[in-house]
Each structure stands twice: as structure tokens, then as C-alpha cells.
């Protein structure tokens, strides 16, 4: 694919432009609105797909991150901020996930959001731009802008279309997230101000690391070095977004009141961005600190795995069960990342994508169930298999993928992550194994609770899924199986990326030239 075309900018702003153009369509033309939304997301997906396929052949940028398709323009030259986008192996996968999940979101949307479809579709497209911006940005200010801007469409989505308690949940989510990211903002400014190049450019900063000496003045004290402070600030922002226990309480509430159609991309993409940030920024910019605080982060990751699993075990609301399972699964991702070796990071990248697929499928299924039975309480649902055999099949596959069944996609990720963790410290893998066992327990409890045992009166009349839902679920399920059976091509690309990041965070700074040589 020719690099003379600004493909990444097109990917980035196509949905936004689509959202603007969407407002020209009359609100009554429901088919047109949805068709347009699907077309835009589909076009984005196609471009992203081609970019990912052409990734290895694209001209490498040559910076520390070796960005492909990079574009660099002035944005606010006076303060050292630029419009700098680029794609590395990590971004490629995240972007692919992003495009795919939003495409599915656009497809499933209309049936559920019967009112104000245009608004919903518009916000969906804006969210896609925001998340894509987070993934593609190489300039830290730009990254931050997209990172926070993402909250705006989400906030409107939640407040317009959310379910009960949405107000509280939205507030909690936004404040929690903002508290973390504001800290990150201070760190970003701090880094920029003290970096030799005096810009926000990530690659420039990686080439010329900031100040290692000195101390950050706090409320009267000097507790931390600038790098430590910045690392903690970044880690806080990402840990909240991910989320790691004990910063997680926004997530169950939010998922509970989130509209089902939005949940797909919410859970599918948004929470993965925390993990993305950890890899792209937190450990890359601060290799020393990443090693210093490795123990803390790994502990939090393991606690998240076990805690999320335990919570999911006794929860009765099916959405909350999945929410807690999500915490547990993302704990695995964090575990992989902070193993700080290539296996762990590779597994984390794979698992990010996998979990995005799985959680999207899970929420899709649960959304269908909730919509058709009108309840989310596990106690009021049982025996649905009898009425919904096809849904049962899809749900089964998704459940199995969710509990890390070998032969499914998440096994690949979890296996690699646990291997990475095992290399770091064997006990971590053992504890994570405990998490796997608990995952099996709560996922089966969820799945069997809904599908098995005598049919409940509430479910007497439900219909099975139609062809349309089937066509949405099928690619997800196919991916879950396909990536489990033949993960090798995907994992090779992610592994290259992971190994590259590992070279970046080796405790002794590696001269940039050598890194370039390695990749080529």
C-alpha cells in the first residue's frame, strides 16, 4: 500500500467524518442511518485490514518504536506538540480489534436502540475515532487528548442510552478515570518540560530519556524521583482504566448500566487501552521504574485475577458476573505485561485481542438473553438450552473461550502469559493457575445457570436467535476457534513486537541503532 496516502489519518478521521455526515440523514430513515454507519465502520475495517496485512512490507519509520505508515505534522509547534501518528505491531492488533468490534457494534445496534438511532450511531463513530486516536498517537499530548476525549462520547452514550443507575455509574466511571489521567497529564507535562528536546513526541523522548536526577517536590516533601513519579502517574491512569484491583469498582457498576450495544465496544476495546498504555508508555518510557515496581504490579495483577474470579463466583447479576470476569482476565494481561519478558508481553498482546473478542461475544449473548427474557438475574433464568439451542451453541463456545479452554484462543494467550510469569517467578504462574480454575468454576456457573436445569417460567416463551444474530456471532466464534487452532501467524507478529518492546525496557539502555538492526 502506498505510503504517499495518509492512510492512518483516513482511518482516524473517517468515522468522525461519517458521524458528521450522519447528521444530514433524517432521523426517521433508520435503515439508511444504520447502513451508513455499517458502511463507514466496514470501510474503516477494510482499510485497517489492508494496513495490517501490509504491515511487514511497509517502510519502517526507524525511530525507537519503528513506526509504519507514520505521519508527522505540526499541531501546536509553540508548545512542542505535533500531530504524529504511526502504527507498530502493538497498534496494528489493537487497531484491528478496534475496527472489528466497532463494525460488529454497528451491525447489532439498530435492533436494540430503537429510539434515537442517529445519535447512537453518531456517538459510536465518534468513539471509534477517539479510541483509534489513542492507539495511533505517537505524540503524548495527542495521546492524552484522545485518551480523555474518549470519555466524552462514552459519557453521552451512557447518559442517553444507559440503563438504571446510569447516572451514578457514569459519574463513578468518569471521575475515576479522570482522576488517574489527570495525574498522568502532570507527568506528561513534567516529562516534556524536562526532556532535552522539549517536545511531547514519544519517539524523541525515548531517544533522549528525561531527567533521572532530582526530585519532584510534593506537598512539602521530596519523596520520588521524577521518573518514579511519572511512572506512578502513568501506572495509576492505566491501572484504573484496565482496571486492576483495587481501582476496579467503577467497572461492574458501569457494565451493569451500560446499554448492551455499547457494551460490546466498551468492554471490547476501551478497557484494553489501559493495557495498551502500559506497554506503549509505562514500561517503555520508564524501564528502570518498571523493574523497580515490578513486584507491586505483579501482586496487583495476581490479586485482580483471584479477586475478580471470586467476585464473579458469588454474583447473581449476569452482567456483573461478566464484568468481574473481565477484571480477572485483564489481571492476566497485566500479569503478562509486568513479567517484563517477551513471552509475557507477547501473551498480553494476544490476550488483549482475544479478550476483546470474547467479551464482545459474551455481552452480545447476554444482551440477547436479557432482551428476550427481560431479566438479568441468574436466579430467574435456567434451562434456556431447550428454547435456544443455537444460542446455546454459541454461548458454549464463548464460555469455553472465556474460561481458557485449551484449543481456544484465550488458551494461547493465557498459556503464553503464564509462561512469562513463570519465568519471572514460579509462584505467580501457580496463583494464576488458581485463577484459571476459578474461571472455570464461575464461567460454568454462569453458563449452566442460564442454559441448564429445568426451564424457568420466565423463559417459557423465548425464541431462539435469528439468522442475523447468528451472522454476528459466527465470525466471533470462528475467530475464537481459529485463533486457538492456528495462532502461529498472529503470534509471530505479536512476538516480534513483544521482543522489540523487551529490548526497549532492558535495564541498560540499548542504543537505538542496534534496535533498528534487530528489527530489520
Amino acid at each position: 500500500m502506498s505510503t504517499s496516502v495518509s492512510w492512518l489519518s483516513i482511518v482516524l478521521f473517517l468515522p468522525l467524518a461519517g458521524a458528521v455526515a450522519l447528521q444530514l440523514i433524517p432521523g426517521k430513515a433508520r435503515v439508511l442511518i444504520q447502513g451508513w454507519t455499517v458502511a463507514i465502520t466496514l470501510a474503516t475495517s477494510v482499510i485497517v485490514g489492508l494496513l495490517v496485512l501490509g504491515f511487514n512490507n511497509a517502510a519502517a519509520g526507524g525511530g525507537p518504536l519503528n513506526m509504519r505508515y507514520a505521519e508527522n505534522h505540526e499541531w501546536i509547534p509553540a508548545i512542542g506538540a505535533s500531530y504524529h501518528v504511526g502504527m507498530d505491531g502493538l497498534a496494528a492488533w489493537m487497531l484491528a480489534l478496534n475496527a472489528g468490534v466497532f463494525l460488529l457494534g454497528a451491525i447489532v445496534v439498530s435492533r436494540r436502540e430503537t429510539e434515537r438511532l442517529r445519535l447512537f450511531c453518531g456517538l459510536l463513530l465518534v468513539t471509534e475515532t477517539a479510541t483509534a486516536g489513542v492507539i495511533l498517537a505517537v505524540d503524548m499530548l495527542m495521546f492524552y487528548v484522545f485518551w480523555e476525549a474518549m470519555l466524552i462520547p462514552l459519557y453521552f452514550l451512557l447518559s442517553n442510552f444507559g440503563e438504571k443507575n446510569r447516572g451514578k455509574a457514569t459519574l463513578k466511571f468518569v471521575i475515576y478515570t479522570v482522576a488517574g489521567s489527570l495525574l498522568m497529564l502532570v507527568a506528561i507535562i513534567y516529562l516534556k518540560v524536562h526532556s532535552p528536546t522539549n517536545t511531547f513526541d514519544l519517539e524523541a523522548m525515548l531517544q533522549n530519556p528525561g531527567p533521572a536526577e532530582g526530585a519532584v517536590p510534593f506537598f512539602g516533601g521530596h519523596l520520588l524521583t521524577p521518573q518514579q513519579f511519572a511512572f506512578i502517574a502513568f501506572a495509576a491512569a492505566f491501572a484504573i482504566k484496565l482496571p486492576l484491583v483495587p481501582f476496579h469498582t467503577w467497572l461492574p457498576d458501569l457494565y451493569e448500566s451500560c446499554p448492551p450495544a455499547a457494551l460490546m465496544f466498551f468492554a471490547g476495546v476501551v478497557s484494553k487501552l489501559g493495557a495498551f498504555g502500559f506497554i506503549r508508555y509505562a514500561i517503555t518510557l520508564f524501564p528502570h521504574e518498571a523493574h523497580d515496581y515490578q513486584g507491586v504490579m505483579l501482586t496487583l495483577a495476581v490479586i485482580s485475577i483471584l479477586y475478580g474470579a471470586l467476585m464473579a463466583l458469588s454474583e447473581t447479576d449476569i452482567k456483573r458476573i461478566v464484568a468481574y470476569s473481565s477484571i480477572s482476565h485483564l489481571g492476566f494481561v497485566a500479569l503478562g505485561i509486568f513479567s517484563l519478558n517477551s513471552a509475557g508481553i507477547n501473551g498480553a498482546i494476544i490476550q488483549m485481542v482475544n479478550h476483546g473478542i470474547i467479551i464482545a461475544g459474551l455481552f452480545l449473548v447476554l444482551g440477547i438473553i436479557e432482551q428476550r427474557t427481560g431479566t438479568r438475574d441468574r436466579h430467574e433464568l435456567a434451562g434456556l438450552e431447550k428454547r435456544m439451542p443455537y444460542l446455546y451453541f454459541f454461548f458454549l463456545v464463548i464460555t469455553l473461550a472465556g474460561l481458557g479452554m485449551p484449543g481456544m484462543n484465550s488458551f494461547v494467550g493465557e498459556f503464553t502469559i503464564m509462561l512469562g510469569a513463570f519465568q519471572t517467578y514460579w509462584l505467580l504462574a501457580v496463583l494464576a493457575g488458581g485463577g484459571v480454575i476459578l474461571a472455570c468454576w464461575y464461567m460454568l456457573r454462569l453458563h449452566q445457570g442460564l442454559m441448564h436445569e429445568p426451564l424457568q417460567p420466565r423463559a417459557e416463551q423465548v425464541r431462539d436467535i435469528g439468522v442475523r444474530d447468528g451472522w454476528v456471532l459466527l465470525p466471533l466464534v470462528a475467530l475464537m476457534i481459529g485463533l486457538g487452532v492456528y495462532p502461529h501467524p498472529v503470534s509471530d507478529m505479536t512476538r516480534t513486537t513483544a521482543e522489540h518492546y523487551v529490548t526497549l525496557l532492558s535495564p541498560i539502555p540499548v542504543p537505538v541503532q542496534i534496535i533498528q538492526g534487530d528489527v530489520k
Binding site: E74, W75, I76, P77, A78, I79, R116, L119, L141, Y144, V145, F146, E148, A149, L151, I152, Y155, F156, S159, N160, R166, G167, T170, L171, V174, I175, V178, A179, L182, L183, L185, V186, I189, Y190, K192, V193, V216, P217, F218, F219
Partner: protein, 507 residues
């Protein structure tokens, strides 16, 4: 000192170039007088024409400001150093005039609904704006004081513009008594500074302080006391804690369109004077006054944001938010003007523009939603707004997000620049206080947003919100879009702010 005095052409009448330097103020002041006359001939039912006239006058003034922007490339003082003809004041004038224009556009409908549509309203708005523009360029203590009083008196009257309403009258009297009280502090500070330096022209004061040619040598406690007292006076005007007490009560009691106007313009104009006096006239006293600015900034952020949490009226909440915003702006003032290369000033300028746009938009929403004869600013009365006025609610939501400092809105870059200037100049603790309180602020801003999106219960009162007029809609659209534009294309406004900071008198 003698040489400087000799430079003042004593007992010479001012020249025409002095008049040119004062052109925008003259146009607006003239319009004020003309409006008074016009009010006599315009019939009572056609008072909207007065709004039109005011708008035209403001636009004309804006034109002259634009012209002057080019003209003022080489800044100078006019009227024997009383008034600065520089881009800084013109930048502020631009913000003030824009705000006034938007307020004038939303006023007729509001005043009609409240039954207080009189011609004096527009006259007073123009007079207050004139006073603020004078304040923005004032480069002598005397002009500062008079300009402050001009705008204050106009605003006292405007606050009490709803004559038969107790709340309005109460707010006006409160504002007046406390304003007079604070003016006395400001004035006493001026007296002390005058006594110590022997001058009232800022340029000469700056020179005296810089060259240590004071009555006492070295720096004297009376001079410091004077600076502190002036700071207190200004802190009152920008409603910074702990001198903010009038703000919530007055904002709530005053007619909403007036609140809209004064919440933005007073702060903008007073900050202009604050910067001119403290960062550029008294930078030598920075080690002394910085402590106070620090404390006031932190207190404002804490008090404003925390108190806003427990409010149940949008106007009051925005009042406290205004207090908090003043705190953020003060961060930009708290960086050492001698070493920051103007970053603090630029940041405050950007912040002011962003704040004016955003806050005006938010208040405009409350203004145009007003009910018949009452302001619908209680939280309970905006519940479910989104279901009947989706666009207004969306705009309000976005404006509140901007106030909270979310990118890509102008509010974010205001905060960003302020924090940047603080961090770059070794004031990281201030930035940390700033972000800590920002996080708190998200709660109350978004709570209003969430309320608008809460479905009204079956038994809830159904409020009679006004219908959105064309001009009202235009104002909200303009502020909303402007908020976004200045949040993305930052360079435009930033460059203007930088050039406004260059050549600031006394530089």
C-alpha cells in the same frame, strides 16, 4: 525619577494620537450615551431594537479593536501614561466585547419573560463593558480604580435590575456593600503603593520598584502591605477565595443574563489588571506576593470545587465553579514573571478566552431556559432536559465538560497551559493541587449533565422552559463550536495570546 517626571509633558493638552489609542472605548462609551437617548424615543414594545443597536455598537467596537490590533504593533501609553495601548488590552477587549455581544443577544427574550425589559439594561451593559475595557488597558492606579468602580457600579445596578424581586435586590445590596468594602482595601493598597513609590502611573511604579528608587531602601513593609491589599481587592473582583463570599449569593440573586455577563467579564477584566499590576509592574516583589497568590490559588481551587459539590442550583454551582476557575487562573499568575518568559501570562490569557466562551455558554443555557417570571436553575428543574431539548442538553453537557477540562475542548488547553507553566517553572505542587481539585470538579459538572439525562418521574413538575429563539440558539451554538475549535486548533488562539503578551506595558 526627576528625568521621568520631566518626560511627562505637564500642562499640555492631550493630542489626537491619545484619542486613537482610546478609540474602542470611545466608540462604546459613545454608544452608551447614544443608547440613553435612543431609549427615550423607542417605544416600549420595540426595546429589542435597543438590543440590536447595542449589538451593532459592540460589533463596531470590535471592528475598531481589530484595526487597533494591527495598529498597536508598537505599544505605547496614551494620556500621559494613564492608559496602555497594547495588544494585551486589545486581546482582553476582544474577549469582553465578544461576551457582551453574546449576552446582548440572549437578553431580550430573557428580560421579556422576566418582565424587566428596560432600555437601561443595555446602557448599563455597555457602560460596564466600557469600564472593563478601560480596566484592561489601565496603566495608572487612578484609572484602574475608576474603571473598577465604573464596572462595579454598573453591575451593582444590573444585579438589582429586577426591581420588585427580593432576591435581585438583596444580591445587589450585598454586592454593593461588600464591593465597597473590598474597594476600600484596593484603594488603601493603592495609597500605600503611591506613598512608597511616589507615582500612580504603572510604568513609573515599575521603574521605581525595579531601580529600587523607593522612598525607603530596601523594599519596605508598607509597599508589601500595599501590594497585598491590592491583591485582596482584586481577589474580591475575580472572586478568589477567601474573598469570594459575595459570588454565590450575587450570582444566584441577579437576573441570569446579568450573571452570565458578570461571571465572565468581571473576571476577565480584573485578571487583566491583576496581570498588569502584579506580573509586570511589581515583579520585583514576586518573592513577597507569590506566597499570597499561592495560598489564594489553592484555597480558591479547594473551596470552589468542594463547595460546588453540595449545591442544588446551577447558578450557584457555576458560581462556585467560577471561584475554582479563578484559582486555576491564579496558578498562571503564581509563576515567576521574571523567569517564565511570559508563559504564565499566555496561559492565563488562553484560559480566560476559554473560560469566557465556556462559562458564557453554560450560563446562556440557564438564561434561555428561564421560565416565566422565574429562573429555572434548580437542579430539580433541569431534570430530564435532554428529553425535551436534546440539542441544548448536549451543548450544555459539552460546555460542562469543557469547564471540567476535558479535551478536545478549549477548557482543557486552558488548564493544560496553566499547569504547564507551573510545572515548567518549578511549581509542581500547585499543578498537583490543580489536578486534584479538577478531579473533584468533574463530579459536580457531570452531575448536572447526568441530571439532564435522567428521565423525569411521573409525578415531577413539568417545567415551562422557554422556547429557544434563533439568537439564543446561535449563542449556544457559537459557544459550543468555539469551545471545540479552540480545543483542537489551539495554535490560532495561542499565537494571538503570545503576541498579546509581547510588548505588554509596562514590559
Amino acid at each position: 525619577m526627576t528625568a521621568l517626571l520631566a518626560a511627562v509633558p505637564a500642562l499640555q493638552p492631550p493630542s489626537s494620537s491619545d484619542l486613537v489609542g482610546l478609540l474602542p472605548e470611545l466608540i462604546l462609551g459613545g454608544a452608551f450615551v447614544a443608547l440613553l437617548m435612543l431609549d427615550l424615543v423607542v417605544p416600549a414594545t420595540k426595546r429589542t431594537w435597543l438590543a440590536g443597536f447595542s449589538a451593532v455598537a459592540i460589533l463596531a467596537t470590535m471592528g475598531s479593536v481589530l484595526w487597533a490590533w494591527n495598529d498597536a504593533e508598537h505599544p505605547r501609553t496614551v494620556y500621559y501614561g494613564s492608559f496602555a495601548y497594547d495588544r494585551f488590552s486589545l486581546f482582553i477587549d476582544g474577549i469582553l466585547l465578544g461576551s457582551a455581544l453574546l449576552v446582548v443577544l440572549i437578553s431580550p427574550q430573557y428580560l421579556n419573560r422576566r418582565g424587566i425589559h428596560y432600555g437601561e439594561y443595555y446602557s448599563l451593559i455597555l457602560a460596564a463593558t466600557t469600564g472593563m475595557m478601560l480596566l484592561s488597558g489601565a496603566s495608572s492606579l487612578m484609572v484602574i480604580f475608576l474603571a473598577v468602580e465604573l464596572l462595579s457600579i454598573a453591575l451593582y445596578i444590573l444585579s438589582g435590575f429586577s426591581r420588585m424581586e427580593e432576591g435581585s435586590q438583596e444580591s445587589a445590596l450585598k454586592y454593593l456593600l461588600l464591593g465597597g468594602f473590598a474597594s476600600a482595601f484596593l484603594l488603601y493598597g493603592m495609597a500605600l503603593i503611591y506613598g512608597e513609590t511616589g507615582h500612580t502611573q504603572l510604568e513609573q511604579i515599575a521603574h521605581a520598584v525595579a531601580n529600587n528608587s523607593l522612598q525607603s531602601n530596601p523594599i519596605d513593609p508598607l509597599l508589601i502591605t500595599g501590594a497585598v491589599l491590592m491583591l485582596i481587592g482584586f481577589a474580591f473582583k475575580v472572586s478568589a477565595a477567601p474573598f469570594h463570599w459575595w459570588t454565590p449569593d450575587v450570582y444566584q440573586g441577579a437576573p441570569t443574563s446579568v450573571t452570565t455577563f458578570m461571571s465572565v467579564t468581571t473576571k476577565v477584566a480584573s485578571f487583566a489588571a491583576l496581570i498588569r499590576v502584579f506580573s509586570y509592574t511589581l515583579p520585583g516583589l514576586y518573592p513577597q506576593w507569590s506566597h499570597l497568590v499561592f495560598s489564594v490559588a489553592i484555597l480558591s481551587m479547594v473551596v470552589g470545587n468542594l463547595a460546588a459539590l453540595s449545591q442544588n442550583s446551577v447558578k450557584r454551582m457555576l458560581a462556585y465553579s467560577g471561584i475554582a476557575q479563578a484559582g486555576y487562573m491564579l496558578i498562571g499568575l503564581a509563576v515567576n514573571p521574571a523567569t517564565d518568559g511570559g508563559a504564565g501570562t499566555v496561559a492565563v490569557l488562553y484560559y480566560l478566552a476559554a473560560y469566557a466562551l465556556t462559562n458564557l455558554g453554560a450560563f446562556a443555557v440557564i438564561t434561555i431556559m428561564a421560565g416565566r417570571g422565574e429562573d429555572l436553575d434548580r437542579y430539580s428543574s433541569i431534570r430530564g432536559l435532554a428529553f425535551r431539548r436534546p440539542w441544548i442538553a448536549a451543548a450544555m453537557g459539552l460546555l460542562l465538560l469543557s469547564l471540567a477540562g476535558f479535551p478536545p475542548t478549549a477548557g482543557f488547553f486552558g488548564k493544560f497551559l496553566v499547569f504547564s507553566s507551573a510545572i515548567a517553572n518549578g511549581q509542581t505542587p500547585l499543578a498537583l493541587w490543580g489536578i486534584g481539585t479538577s478531579a473533584i470538579s468533574v463530579f459536580y459538572y457531570l452531575r448536572v449533565g447526568v441530571l439532564m439525562y435522567t428521565k423525569p418521574e411521573a409525578g415531577d413538575e413539568r417545567y415551562e422552559w422557554s422556547r429557544t429563539t434563533v439568537s439564543g440558539g446561535a449563542v449556544i451554538a457559537a459557544t459550543t463550536i468555539g469551545t471545540l475549535v479552540f480545543g483542537v486548533f489551539v495554535t490560532v488562539l495561542y499565537t494571538i495570546a503570545v503576541s498579546a503578551q509581547h510588548g505588554l506595558i509596562p514590559g
